[in-house]
Every structure is written in structure tokens, then in C-alpha cells.
């Protein structure tokens, strides 16, 4: 049974790491714009060369 308690404590530690990661990602602005990156990733790069006249 002691092992379960140890596991729970480890899970708390892991959860704390994720909490820290979450706080960091919020602070670094990853949630500022949740719309455009989702669209941007689907767009192809323009391969054709630009017309020159």
C-alpha cells in the first residue's frame, strides 16, 4: 500500500510540473491568439515565382 502513496506523491510532482508549464505558456503569450495559427498551418507556401514586368 505504501507504493500507492509514493505513486500519488510522484503524480503530484508531475502535475506540479505541468502546472508550471501551463503558467509559463500563458505568460509567454501562447494563448493570446488561438485562431490564426490553426488556419495558418493549413496554408501552402506560394511556390510560383512572382511575375515581373
Amino acid at each position: 500500500m505504501t507504493i500507492i502513496i509514493a505513486l500519488i506523491l510522484i503524480s503530484l510532482l508531475v502535475a506540479l510540473i505541468f502546472l508550471w508549464l501551463f503558467v509559463w505558456s500563458v505568460r509567454s503569450g501562447q494563448y493570446d491568439d488561438t485562431d490564426s495559427p490553426a488556419v495558418r498551418i493549413l496554408m501552402d507556401d506560394i511556390k510560383r515565382p512572382k511575375k515581373k514586368d
Partner: protein, 795 residues
Amino acid sequence: MEILEEVKCFHCGEDCEESHHQVDEKAFCCLGCKTVYQLLEENDLCTYYDLGKTPGNQLKDFFVNKYNFLENAEIADQLLDFDSPEYRKITFDIPSIHCSSCIWLLENLSRFDEGIIHSRINFGAKRLTIDFRPQQTNVKSLVELLCQLGYEPEITLDRQSNKETHATHKSTFIKLGVSGFAYGNIMLFSFPEYFGINIDSEFIPYFGYLNLALSLFVLMYCAQEFFISAYKGLSKKILNIDLPIAMGILALFVRSSYEIISQTGAGYFDSMAALVFLLLIGRWFQGQTYRKLSFDRNYKSYFPLAVYRIKNQEKKSVLVETLQVGDRIEIRNHEIVPCDSILIDPITQIDYSFVTGESQSVQVTEGEKIYAGGRINGTAVRMDILQVVSHSYLTQLWNNDVFSKESHLEEHLIINQVSRYFTPIILAIAVTAAIVWAFIDGSGVLNVFSSVLIIACPCALALTAPFTLGSVLNLLAKHQFYLKNTEVIERMWKTTHIVFDKTGTITNSENATVAFLGDELTQEEKCLVAALVVHSTHPLSQAIYTLLESQASVQKLEIMDFEETKGKGLSGKINGKYITIGSALSIGLPQQSSQLETRVYLKIDHQIKGYFGIQNSYRKGLKQMLDTLQSHFDFTILSGDNPAEAQNLEVLFPPHTNLYFDQSPVDKLNKINRIEENQNCIMVGDGLNDAGALKASTVGISISDSLSSFTPASDAILQGKRLVQLADFMLLIRQAKVVIVIGFVISFAYNIIGLSFAVAGMVTPIFAALLMPISSISVVGFTTLSIKWLGRRIL
């Protein structure tokens, strides 16, 4: 040519008139849309049209030279985020970003201009960031490029002000994260308790202390806003909904801590964390809705950013704020006078529609005073400043009582009306139960008292209104009806009267039907007339110009002896021919009366050719909308125009509708005040001339055909073409009230069940842990789904 089927513009999707512009077998509604298409085609950027159907913005008039002030380095630099000799960064707010095609196009801006290194969009904030090389391009050409593409940026005096809101979003997210984390982990540590497992280990008591430690974060950090709000309410002697919430949270914490420390139980920390987590989600949802709709701007947005100052014969563009009394400035055609001044040049025409609502322009001669907010019609004029920007007439107008009227938010909110009774009742129940238990079993008193406070905590109740109103707000915004906040919905419930402005509101000024009656005009004559009317900004002249432009290939012609007389017409000499256009009187005909259309007569070289008949066109579907609305509302029309349209309006509106014509903004304001004495009313208007009336009414809806222009006094913005859906919107808003009431009933039902258990002294931690989230989630689910269902049925 007759068009059997409606042709939509390939670029923006608007209906094309009979004479649409065509390229590559694609139809365009106007020259602007066609030009953008050609520009995109030339740069191989037509993928734009693959990403969305008719993604383009409708193009408004684009005045060349409008952004000349950006040539001034001092002003342009103010807009920069980063500045170095090789690299600059600038951010623009672009309200017209609306779809994925916009993202694609604006992120490929570098293909239009070699100097642009990179551009990036923040879609949520509708913001575009451009990195560019200052040697190759400049701010002005960037702005002009954006305008050409139909993405006019907003450049205003107060652009710095919206940065602070960012920090608060972040802290909301972090609070949400921390409370969610605490909730999950406390549940984990409570597992032995939930299942009644008796683990024989020395570690077990420490779990309780861990829970206590996690809850401390929740209490001190995540829940602080409830305590602050409850305290603020109390200090204003208002029992708001946050008070019972704060009481519940505190009761949960104190009782649980006692149980842990005295080793008598496991406490209710999981319920407490769940409560805070769910409530924060509610707040976040509300905030999310507001952020999408943040349109509250102030009058400064309407002022020009910079004007030309003339000093020592030298013209230099300067910031409006830096102007001093006595400075000489030059204001050009269509520009707004930023501050009260004295005219130096002999004569000019000023359009005060911005301030007074009078659409006809006023003639001002040398030495006369020009008030701030006037728009110059005609050639550039010089003036000396009498008052600096902040003291001027326009600012005073906005600082008027009507505009600064604070809404009594606390009294309006439905939730606060409920909580006014809720808190005392709960306290009474808790005290009574505690007293009764004192006679039955003295040891149960504290237990029962705190159980009642815990269970009665109005979590579900507090979530009902924000989720319902927030969903309604989102749904309406999707249909281009933007409300300032949820409070507007609550105020709409009380209204029984709708007041309409006429021109630009129920009529569609862009779609006025113009027809020429009289001798057939030759192509040359059409060109001549077009060349004359192009110089006037009067709506009639513009309507005529649009007609002629579609019939003949119009070119710029030299004009002599140009004259525009207020209320009469235009005259000028072009290619040796003397052309007069205007009212019957101005060309020597007797005054016509009682006609249903506005007539503009044309005279070329003493020969009367005929007249242009201009008819206001009402928005399609108006009659149906009014028929639906009349079962709930009375109507009034307040028009600034003459009564020419009275007959048409009488047909459209139900009998007993009051029609008022020739109303000045002050008249409108007074009429609204008089109506408000008996009935709460909604004012539907456009432009700043209705500003007073919009503010004085219970709910002011400003009609806008382009979202970047509306008045600061309004509570809501409605896209012009959506006006005819107003009846549907009102129905949805009324139904939302029913949804909220049902939500309240559900949450009260949960409360009654919980309270009966609490009073009986039977609340266990697991009972509280189950009941609280279930009640909140079921109420939120119910309200959100019913609004979704209503939206699908009604809109």
C-alpha cells in the same frame, strides 16, 4: 439589359447593379473590388478566393492624400513598436479582418512590397504586425496598400490604451489553471475518503495537510475576486451574488481546516476547489465574450490624428495634441476640424452633420468661428486656433450629462435582484437550523450551520445568467448584431417602444434609385455632368455621379467658375459649356410641391434638359419586420429630413405611429426623453447626429454599414443589412429571459434538495462533492444548449 438572376460580386459578394464591372468573366460590384481583384491577380495571389467564397471587404471611398500626415516622421514613429535603421515593426488594428482568406492575404503582404519582410495576424485581436525595412518602404505606403486591399487600419489618438487588458487575461488563465490543478489533486488525495478505504499508513494524515496547502492557494489567489466583489457590494450596501459565494467558500474552508487540524474528518476541500474552478470558468466565458466585442471607444477616435500647421510660410504636419492657441492650420476637403478656430480664408462650406445632424453644409466667411467637428467641403482652407483640442465644442458635447450618464449596473442585473433575497433567506435558514439543533443535539450545531452555508452556495445560480446571456451575445454577434455587454440584454427586456431614425437607418442611402427623365443625354453631356457633380459631397450629387459613372466612361475635366450654393445646387463651366444642376428654383422653374421623390434639375447652356428623380429605397424586408414587431412595440420616427417621404412611411408603419420630420439632434433628444417618461425605448439610429438620442434611450442601437464607424453613445451596433432581422433578434432576447428563469428554477431545486439534507445534518463530504459540480454543470449545459436550439429555430 435586363438581369434575370442576381449577380454577386466576385470579390465581396454584394449584389451587383445592372452595370457591373467585368474582368475574366467575373462580375464586380464596384471599381474598387475590381481593382483589388486585378491587383491580386497581377501578384499571383488569387488563392485568396480559393480559401473563402467572396472573402473581400466592401470598398469604401478611398481618399488619396488621406494619410499624408504619415509622411511626418514624428507621427509615423509614434505608431512604431520597434525602430532601428534597418528594421522596423508596426502594429495596426484592422477591424475588417473576418476570415481565413484575410489571414492568408495579409500574411503574404510581402509580395506587394519588397520592403515588407514579414507580416503576421492576430486573428482574435484583429491586429496585424508588419516588419519592414525603412529604406525600401514607409508607414504611409503600408497604410495605403492596406486601404487599397480593403483593410483600412484604424489610426487614432488613443491607440495605446488597449494594451493593459492583456495582463488581466493572463491572470484569469493562470487562476483557472491553478484552481483546476488544485481541484484534480485534492480529489486524488480524497480517494481513500471517497471509498472508505482504511489504509494503514503513517502517510495518511499528511494527505489532509496537502489538501489544506492546495486549498490555501485556491482561497488566497484564485478566489480573491469573489471576496473583493462581495466586500465592494457590502460597502455599497448591496447584497450581490458574490456575497453568498464568498460566504460559502469561507465556510467550506474554515470547516474543512478545522476537521483536518483536529483530525476529525477529511473536510470539503474538493468541493471548494470545484466551486472556485467552475465559477472561474463562468467568468472566463463572460470575459471571452466581451473581448470579442470590445467596441467601446471614445470620441477621440473620430478626430484626425494630425493636421497641417503653417508656420513661417512653411507647411508641416503635426499631431493634433500639440496644437496651441493661435496656431494656423490648414484643413483640406473632407477633413474634420479638430478644434474651434477662426477662418482666415474668404469663404468655405462646412458640414456640421457630425455635430448637429444637419446634413446640409453651412457657409462660413472670413473671421467667423468654426466649431470642432465640422467637416470641410471644398478646397483647403486655413484657420487660426481658438481653443486646444480638449476644450473645444465637440469635447464639451460629449462631456454633456447625457453622454456621461452612468448606468446603475448593480440595480439592473437580474442576478443581483435574486441575490438580494437569497442571502438573507440562506442566513435565516442556517441560523434557524442551528438553533433547532441546539435543542436536539448540541454537538451538531456548528456542523449544520456550516453545512447549510456550504450547500446553499449559489454556484449554479451564479452561472446561469452569465452563460445564457453570454451565449446570446455570441449568437447575435455571429449575425452582426453587436451588443456592448450582457446588461444591454437585460435592459432590452424592459423596452416597449422603438424609435427609428429615417435616413441611413431604415433607408439604404447607398441604394437610392436614381433615374434621369427628360431629353436623352449624349455621352459627352453625361461626362460633363459627372465632372461637375464629382466635386460635391452632397448625397444627391454622389447618387447622380454613381448613375452617370455606370453609363459613360467618365474622365476628369477642367472646371471653371465652380460654385456650390447651399440647398440650391451646383454650377460650373466645363469645355465651354455652362452647366447648372440643382433644385427647380435654382434653374428658374417654379417650386414643385407634394412630390414623392427628390428632383434635381439639369440645365446645360440655358436649356433645361430634364431632372434626376431620386427615390429613397427602404431596406428590403422592412415591412415584414415591422409587422412582426408591432405586437410588442410602439413605433416613432424621428427624421432629420423634410416630410417628402411621409406618405411612403405611413404605408410601411402601422397606424398610430408618430412621424416627426425636420428634427435636430436636440429635438430628437427631447422627444426620446419625453417617451422615456412613460415607456422604455430603443432608439435605432446612425451617425453622430443621433448620439444624444441614442444615449438618452434605454437602449441605443447604432446602424452601421461599415463596422469601423459608429457612435460612442450606442449600446449596440447592428450591420445595416441586418436591420430587417431585428424582430428575430428581439424574439431571441425575450426567449433568453425564459431560459434564465428555468435555469434559476433548476438551481433552486438543487438547493432545496441540498438544504434539506444539510438541515437534517446529513451532508457528508462525498455528498457535497457530487451535488455541487452536478448542479453547476447541468445548469450550464441546459442554458447553453437551449440558446443554441433557440438560435437555430429563430435566426
